[in-house]
Symmetry: C2
Subunit: 350 residues, 2 copies
């Protein structure tokens, strides 16, 4: 099915100079797809000069305002009704686009998407879900910073949303859902995590129990659930140590003439290694729990990275992620209402 | 001043075959130091055969029992009164040793050290503090898993204990103390963290505010404070990603004959790199808040790694870490009692 993606062209550190070429490249790769460029027409139009061949598959939607990267979410929501971010969300709400993508201010995007698209029944706030590499593939991790004070019920919702996203995008019937904890035994962790384990156990999801920090990258689960505080720290700690190791490796190879020659000999290997752990390939976090698809790109994304975020939005649209989440949430709610009814047969459920 | 270290020879995955040679090597490196080998004499004695030159500086203290790595802390505390771990702690309590080191069961070591050595006034449980590498040096991070449900007051205590440890071991008058958070702005984070920031601000410590996950490895602070759940996840996530990156690098260098030749050319560089991020060099976590020094080694430590843990214990003993923490805690308590008294002049305090 052909899907249209609304691109907030003005967001991110680089604005249209990154977002527009990334979207054109996306159109070339997906002959069925369409794009709406949202933002200041005068800045977008010149970047489309060489894209005549694609012109039947895109249009520009002018939006006069831009949400600044450091603007307060409340201000962005209240006073900038014609911002590119807001107009992109409106297009999804109106059904003119199947998804929106923005590299803008995370807080503002959350506030705007929540206000415009609304939350699915039973979900309070969007959760941020990203894909991370593992030794054996990759893992979906959430929440990565939207919800810093979580109760067990929230962690259950994250489990459902993450599992539905992973099931849809990985075409995997019952992805393994793990709960981030500080030990693999049931008795470990704080009260919220222990209560969440019980809820997840009875959710019908393929819940595999606790996953420790190192288990995330060892691929112990397909979906890892945690509160937004822990998730954000885990994500940024990972970035920090990966950068540090990269820097040390570079320093060691740059030390003397001899080591620089060794670097030359190892150039291809080092490039392959770098490509394999390139964080740009993992760009594009899904804001889950909305009645529509919204993908957040890293603000500093380049053309390749922003393209990855568009791809994720397109994949989510093609696989009806919000509908899947809504169905699973409704199913769980019905079960809770029927407490004491039929015995629980987890095997039949995704 | 000559210090005596009590070594729990039986703890860890390898027992005396690692702990005894590590302690002998420590004695060779520290001509003033003494060691008490605690554990089953029949297993320890044969390993000392070639150490006659050092025999004036060590003795064996027989302990008939061993705490198993998977034993419940409560059982270890209650039923094994002659365990090597317990006897080592008793030696510190009695003043026969200045510190004890164990590679045994963490939970049991915490329970035993807390029971035998007792906590400093105003501290409820030991906090686990480790040193981690940063781009510019290293950082002390705590708590790494002992306290999973923390209140703001606990985070303040961690700040004090970590700062006193860093001040003592780094000979740094006012180490920079940061609070692990999900943004650098004051408004970020959950309630506990926000309240802790206020307490740390008024603590007289050199509190630099929030530090994000990536800031830990960027060396933004000398001491990073967090609750034990977050800290444990952060530590293990770091281990996980570092292992994954190492594995990817190895795979890339092992791919073809050509890449293996490149690895040969780069051998020295890769070795230097590996040495620089060798987790063994950072082995030895301090259990802070006790009225005595207790260092926990990783269970899988080899001779080199266990030696690092002994070194840390010796350094802590040489620099009176528990006394420093007690003094600072008492100072803060006096100030709290004198609320409304003299104005706060943070500059004069460590």
């Amino acid at each position: 099915m052909p899907h249209t993606i609304a691109i907030d062209c003005m967001g991110g550190d680089h604005g249209p100079s990154v977002t527009v070429p990334a979207a054109l490249s996306f159109l070339r790769d997906h002959p069925q797809a369409r794009v709406i460029f949202v933002g200041q027409e005068a800045l977008i139009r010149p970047l489309l000069a060489s894209a005549d061949a694609l012109s039947g598959r895109y249009r520009i939607q002018h939006a006069s305002e831009v949400v600044a990267m450091d603007e307060s979410p409340a201000m962005a929501l209240k006073s900038k009704k014609d911002s590119s971010m807001r107009v992109a969300a409106n297009l999804v709400k109106a059904g003119d686009a199947s998804a929106c993508v923005s590299a803008g201010n995370t807080g503002a995007l959350m506030a705007i998407s929540r206000f415009v698209l609304k939350m699915l029944p039973g979900i309070d706030r969007p959760a941020i879900c990203s894909v991370l590499p593992t030794v054996s593939g990759h893992v979906y991790m959430l929440d990565l910073g939207a919800n810093v004070d979580c109760e067990a019920e929230h962690l259950l919702q994250f489990g459902i949303m993450g599992a539905m996203l992973a099931a849809a995008l990985e075409h995997r019937e019952r992805p393994r859902v793990g709960l981030l904890n500080i030990g693999s035994e049931d008795i470990k962790g704080n009260k919220v995590v222990k209560d969440a384990a019980e809820l997840l156990q009875n959710s019908g999801l393929n819940f595999i129990g606790n996953v420790e920090g190192d288990g995330v990258y060892k691929g112990h689960a397909d979906v890892v659930v945690c509160d937004g505080f822990v998730g954000n720290v885990a994500l940024k700690i990972s970035e920090g140590i990966a950068q540090m190791l990269g820097q040390f490796l570079k320093q060691e190879f740059g030390r003397t003439l001899l080591t620089r020659l060794a670097a030359l000999a190892a150039l291809k290997v080092l490039r392959n290694f770098k490509g394999r752990v390139d964080p740009r390939a993992y760009n594009g976090a899904s804001l889950l729990g909305l009645k529509g698809i919204c993908v957040k790109s890293h603000g500093s994304a380049d053309i390749f990275a922003f393209g990855q975020a568009i791809d994720r939005a397109y994949e989510a649209a093609s696989n009806n992620v919000p509908e899947r989440i809504a169905v699973k949430l409704a199913e769980l709610q019905r079960e809770q209402e029927q407490q004491g009814g039929e015995p629980h047969t987890t095997e039949e459920k995704v």
